[in-house]
């Protein structure tokens, strides 16, 4: 198997990377909630069907999972870079880089699951009520 290459500038890590996937989850949750709340309050037919919103949430979910998946892969590659193995507790730039990668990967997994949890609601419920 090809050994993942250690980036030339491992010091380019930013704390913000940890937040990307959870923020995507948050955006997905908020947009889904606001969309369905507004639709149900103002535009839903009498039987409360939310078909359009369900399709929109499906598209949004695919997009969100794509971004989360991309960030997760990025994190995983960083975690596997060079020869280091977890727990990445050496005082080197490389281990800090790997630690960020692993934490980003884990947070992406959690965000992906939480995003699917939200999407499942739209899969299972067809109306506002």
């Amino acid at each position: 198997m090809k050994q993942p290459r250690l980036p030339e500038r491992p010091h380019g890590d930013h704390l913000g990377w940890l937040a990307v996937s959870p923020l995507v989850w948050a955006a997905h949750l908020l947009i889904s909630y606001c969309a369905v709340a507004i639709y149900c309050a103002k535009y839903a037919p009498p039987d409360g069907e939310v078909t359009e919103v369900r399709w929109a949430v499906l598209v949004l979910t695919v997009l969100a999972l794509a971004v989360i998946g991309w960030v997760a892969r990025l994190g995983y590659v960083r975690h596997r870079s060079g020869q280091g193995i977890a727990p990445h507790d050496h005082d080197t730039e490389e281990d800090r880089h790997r630690f960020f990668g692993l934490a980003t990967f884990f947070l992406s997994l959690l965000s992906g699951v939480a995003t699917l949890f939200t999407a499942l609601v739209f899969f299972m419920m067809e109306t506002c009520h």
Binding site: H11, A37, F100, L107, L110, A114, F117
Partner: protein
């Protein structure tokens, strides 16, 4: 203990320092950090003093809240009891919840963190010690004011969540105002602490302590402080709106005039649910420090625990609607929040598994501290399981507002917060006081508390399932809950007895035999490097850190630190100094001079308190005068204590490293503080903008027909004036750097005038069209948005004038320009705020 040997463990010690020189250095250092004596003691701002005061105060409020709980249990011990009247009971249960959440649970985490974070970070102090002191005094004054109301029969009666319309239309007196204004005042302390702790964790670490090496406690506190920043402002916005409704009859929550009580519930629970995690995570952070010590091995799954802390922090913001399952929101909306509520169990569970794995893999030793940890975790898990139950909307429909919820929340809060905090007291007591607590008394206290707790709160689940609603002061004899209520009451007194044993252990006189050894638990983290009790300097010299558990992994670290072989071993100029390092890799960036003792923070808190306390009684002249005095005191504090032009531009901090003593811009702690404060401020503002769109959603027509809006011209002209003012300020900053003083003054003056015009223009919109804020919620929310923006413009003007004065006084120079850089950062946010206000109030009605 078995540990991998890393290349970094083999680093040589720094060269030794001559003993006589080291002694002189230590004396100078001690002099610089000396705690004031006599009555001046109360001017101290050092984290060791402020953190201790904070902790003692928070515990005192906890005991007060506990006494209120006992009063409630006495009342509920028997059916149809007349121990308390309905009105007294309402005040007691409202104050119990409010005191425990606002005056104990949140402040205690800030207290412990202020006390311990600098020790864990090997820092001399937090970057803004005066801000910590100001926060403490605000907390004390606000807390005494709120609690004191109970003794005059004037306490709030609306429950700790103060739902309108009950609190806006059906409760006379000042109780609700005391809650709204008194607790808003205390929230200032929380936000101040959040700023302090975020900057402290990110910028004041010892060299080498990269983010993959920081103590888990610091990760948790970083997450929690960020959560405070996003959770508290919506409540402050809600408090503002409710007070405007109570004092001026602006109908935000009055359905008769277009308002909606559900908006309050959104704002409250956007705060309230993260709040639960804001109090839980720091306590579990204590567990994350205690478990490795007693397991004698590093935490298993450090990265997993970081995932749990960060993940829980985020997910906790997606749960707020589960407190509103019975308000009639669309079921599909409930489903979203039910799903998120289940998801948060994942990271919560992960950290518990990590703790258990560490204990299983290591060789755990028995101690009172560990007993409280284990008891707390077991209790918390039970509360978590009932939490999963009530997160399911149909079950919540049945259990909502019953004693089942009371049982659930106490399992979570006492198991997840109180027990770990007591574990933390047993663990850290030697570090703070230099004495050991009694293991025997600790064990007695633990078992008494554990038994008392479960006997108190388990029966509440049954009472709830059998139909007993919460917040009732009487229940009839034939309801079938007499037995479980009596058991709960007996349990409550057993729990209180256990707590008294703990309290006695803490305050009893301790003889010489109980003097603590240094690092008595043989812990691996940096806070234990200090002497027991810690010296006011925090750490003798600031070391280079190469491990998550430096005391285990770095040979001779304690000796080298004690002998002053590392950074800042001296205080040649008599200044209090600490290191500022980079956020990710902890590379030294600055030798930060932190201000020393002052009474200014106490006076600033007294006057700020006056604004809120006099405001409660509608004594607006007195409140306004206090506001002016508070502003003058804070300006005096900033003028004398911040961004002083240094005599020495660079300083040798030891080991051949020379650092600047003054930094402006993103590298400085002041810039970070401004950024963090403004994020909080913007969050409060967005909560108000959310209100506008919330009303648009719930009304068929919003803005309603027949009520005029602020028009297009004035808000858009206000925006244009703000943009021009901002542009001139940015130019002024640049001109000042290029030493073009006259042009700087011209630009700053023009910017100030334009800002004044902008404020007037924003207010002119609703003024010109006679928008009456008491007539309907639409004019009220427009007025709130424009007044918020205008008020911020006025503050922006004061900041600009401050910069002009600083330059005139020679306290701001082309090289040392932190003041104008930070003010410009404020104005970036102000421009964004003005843009949002103008677009919302003027253009949105055209497209809605």
């Amino acid at each position: 203990m078995s540990r991998d040997v890393k290349a970094s463990d083999q680093q040589p010690s720094p060269p030794p320092v001559d003993a006589a020189v080291a002694k002189q250095q230590a004396m100078r250092l001690l002099k610089a950090w000396e705690t004031p004596k006599g009555w001046r003691y109360w001017s101290a701002v050092n984290n060791t003093e402020v953190g201790l005061w904070y902790t003692i105060c928070a515990f005192t409020f906890f005991l007060f809240g506990g006494c209120l709980a006992l009063l409630m249990r006495v009342q509920l011990a028997f059916p149809d009891s007349s121990f308390l009247s309905a009105d007294q009971y309402n005040q007691v249960f409202t104050m119990h919840g409010s005191v425990m959440m606002f005056l104990f649970a949140v402040p205690i985490l800030e207290a412990i963190s202020i006390l311990l974070i600098p020790q864990m970070m090997g820092a001399r102090d937090l970057p803004f010690p005066r801000l910590s002191a100001y926060g403490f005094w605000c907390f004390l004054i606000g807390g005494v004011f709120v609690c004191g109301s109970l003794f005059f029969g004037a306490a709030p009666r609306g429950g700790w969540f103060m739902y309108p319309p009950m609190t806006t239309q059906y409760q006379d007196g000042v109780g609700a105002d005391i809650w709204l204004l008194g607790l808003s005042f205390i929230e200032i302390a929380s936000i101040a602490a959040a700023i302090e702790l975020i900057v402290g964790v990110l910028k004041c670490r010892p060299p080498g302590m990269r983010l993959n090496l920081i103590p888990l406690y610091a990760w948790y506190i970083l997450v929690v402080a960020a959560m405070i920043l996003f959770a508290f402002p919506p409540l402050i916005a809600g408090d503002l709106l409710m007070e405007l409704e109570r004092a001026l009859d602006w109908p935000f929550f009055d359905p008769g005039r277009g308002g909606d009580p559900i908006y309050w519930q959104h704002l409250f629970w956007i705060f309230g649910h993260p709040e639960v995690y804001i109090v839980f995570l720091p306590s579990i952070a204590l567990v994350a420090m205690i478990v490795p010590t007693f397991a004698k091995m590093p935490m298993v799954g450090y990265t997993w625990v970081v995932l749990a802390a960060v993940g829980t922090g985020f997910l906790s913001f997606g749960l707020w609607v589960h407190h509103m399952f019975t308000t009639g929101l669309p079921a599909i909306s409930l489903g979203i929040f039910s799903a998120a509520s289940e998801a948060v169990a994942i990271p919560t569970g992960i950290q518990l598994f990590c703790f258990m794995a560490t204990l299983l893999v290591g060789r755990a030793t028995r101690s009172a501290s560990m007993l409280f940890v284990l008891g707390g975790l077991a209790t918390f898990i039970l509360g978590g399981l009932t939490g999963v139950m009530v997160a399911i909307a149909p079950f919540d429909d049945q259990a909502h507002d019953t004693y089942f919820i009371v049982g659930h929340l106490h399992y979570v809060l006492i198991g997840g917060t109180i027990f770990p905090i007591i574990a933390g007291v047993y663990y850290f007591y030697p570090l703070v006081s230099g004495k050991m607590l009694s293991e025997r008394l600790g064990t007695i206290s633990f078992w008494t508390m554990l038994v008392g707790f479960h006997v108190t709160f388990f029966p509440m689940h049954l009472a709830g399932l059998w139909g007993m609603p919460r917040r009732i002061y009487l229940y009839p004899e034939d309801l079938g809950v007499e037995g479980v209520n009596l058991i709960s009451t007996v349990g409550a007194f057993v729990l209180a007895a256990g707590l008294l044993v703990f309290l006695w252990d803490v305050i009893r006189p301790k003889g010489r035999s109980e003097k603590a050894d240094r690092n008595p638990w043989n812990a691996g983290t940096l806070e234990w490097i200090g002497e027991a009790a810690s010296k006011p300097w925090g750490i003798r010299s600031i070391p280079i850190i190469r491990s998550r558990y430096p005391l285990w992994d770095q040979p001779n670290l304690m000796r080298d630190v004690d002998e002053g072989r590392y950074y800042l071993p001296d205080a040649e100029e008599g200044f209090r100094e600490t290191l500022v390092t980079s956020a990710v890799d902890a590379v030294p960036l600055q030798c930060l001079r932190v201000p020393g003792p002052t009474f200014l923070t106490l006076w600033a808190a007294v006057f700020t308190g006056g604004v809120f306390i006099f405001g409660t009684y509608h004594w607006y002249w007195a409140a306004g005068s206090c506001g002016l005095l508070a502003a003058a005191t804070i300006v005096g504090w900033l003028w004398t204590g911040t961004a002083s032009v240094p005599a020495l531009e660079r300083k040798d901090v030891g080991l051949g490293v020379e650092l600047p003593t003054y930094v402006s811009g993103p590298g400085s702690v002041g810039w970070w503080a401004m950024m963090i404060a403004m994020i909080g401020d913007l969050t409060a503002y967005v909560s108000l903008v959310f209100g506008y769109f919330f009303y648009w959603t719930v009304h068929e027509e919003f803005p309603p027909q027949g009520i005029r809006g602020p028009g297009l011209a004035a808000p858009l002209a206000g925006l244009a004036a703000t943009a021009l003012s901002w542009g001139l300020l940015v130019a002024a900053r640049s001109l000042q750097r290029r030493q073009r003083g006259t042009a700087f003054y011209a630009c700053a003056s023009a910017s100030t005038l334009l800002a004044l015009c902008a404020a007037l223009l924003f207010v002119a919109g609703p003024w010109r069209y006679d928008m009456d804020p008491t007539a309907h919620v639409y004019p009220a929310i427009v007025w709130v948005l424009v007044l918020w923006t205008a008020l911020h413009l006025v503050v922006g003007i004061l900041m600009q004038l401050y910069c002009v004065a600083r330059r005139l006084a020679g306290k701001m120079t082309p090289q040392f320009d932190a003041d104008v850089v930070n003010v410009t950062l404020y104005w970036h946010f102000l421009l964004l705020m003005s843009l949002m206000t103008a677009l919302t109030v003027s253009l949105f009605p055209l497209v809605s």
